[in-house]
Amino acid sequence: MEKSLNPIELKDKTNELPEEDQSLPLDRIEDQSRKNYFARMPDEAALNKCFDRAFLINKPMGSVGGDGLWMYREGGKIFLAIFNCMGQGHLASMMTRIYANALRKLIAEYKIEFTGSILQFIHREIQTRFKDKENIQLNTGAHLGIIKLDIEERAMEFAGARMDLVRELHGEVERVAGDDYQIGELTDEKQEYASNAVELKPGSTYYIATDGTTRIIGGPNYKRFGKPQFDEMVAGFTDTEFLDRKEVIVKRLDEWRGANTQNDDILVVAFQL
């Protein structure tokens, strides 16, 4: 019998493994950067403590990525931010921590509450942090969407920097469009972001997705999945149980991608109130 072709083997367990399991020996070593990436973001359990029902899809292109989310609750107010830092991989993953820290500082410490103002302050925070840095090897910009939910007042507000909030109710889909420029770029352009009041309609499902979701290339004509198809997909969920929708979205995106390589990080948050 041929010897195993695997250069790294599991200590003391080598003989217990079938040959096919030994072909990816690095799988058995915990990737600590990946562990950190997922550990510092709220997971589905945390989302479900703040919303009636929620799910999360987070599929970075590699082991880690530039998409992230951050959540904060104080009294009856909940802030949820989804962001997509430019680039992919480990450098973009570092930027997600910088954005999460900026959000924490502005919302938890400085108590800035208007979502549009939060985006403006984050923009300035990132600019200030990086303006004197020369030769940095990453793009400091990001797309970001943030909601503020006031449970006692039954009010919701949304602001977006190249990110939309999608609401589905009885098969009707409405987009609360974010502003058409990202945040954190090191240009001198003055950027302002609108705080949009979102009317809470019972039975609605809300979705926020990073653009990796709609930029997936595939389908019969090798095209982007696109926002219209995303909206059409969620509009068709009227008879689909909330928790089954996650699986349907993942399956639909995978089918669209087919054999093509995933071309961007993907993050989708859905919730009901």
Partner: protein, 155 residues
């Protein structure tokens, strides 16, 4: 046709060039490659933090870059401008450099040379040992005042 030895050396040279180019072009500070050697004793040569990549396809094995925390902190300062990086930043930097170096080698060797995403860890994981079937080539390097190792294990 190249012998196994020549092929192994040629692959190792690609890694040496890739890591040299990484420091030269991205940090504008040349690295100094010290005399590479074949490791004959058991165990891995590891420093504080390591980014390791599995190689499959036309060649089988692994490559990793291992260095002390200070080197990765220096790189983070240059690339991202963070003066006080966390351990998570350092782990990400170890993953980034190993991914770029191996990715550049892959670009030279073609699609039959397949690499995994990096696995990044601190210290020495207890889960692995290297079998004697692997030839391990250790490339010590110095960048600024930091010492690092690029280690290639190929069958």
């Amino acid at each position: 046709m190249k012998s196994n030895k020549e092929e192994f050396e040629s692959t190792c040279n690609l890694f040496i060039n890739s890591v040299s180019n990484y420091f030269k072009h991205l940090t504008e500070v040349d690295s100094k490659i010290n005399v590479p050697y074949i490791k004959e004793t058991e165990g891995l040569v590891l420093k504080d933090f390591t980014g390791m990549i599995a190689i499959s396809g036309s060649k089988k094995g692994f490559v990793y870059i291992s260095a002390d925390r200070e080197m990765f902190e220096d790189l983070i300062n240059i690339f991202i401008g963070i003066d006080d990086p966390t351990k998570a930043d350092v782990l990400d930097m170890a993953g980034e450099i190993s991914n770029v170096v191996a990715g550049n080698v892959r670009a030279n060797l073609g699609t039959n040379f397949m690499i995994s995403v990096p696995v990044v860890f601190e210290g020495m994981p207890t889960e692995v040992k290297v079998t004697t079937e692997v030839t391990i080539y250790v490339i010590p390097l110095k960048w600024k005042n930091h010492e690092a190792f690029v280690v290639i294990g190929l069958q």
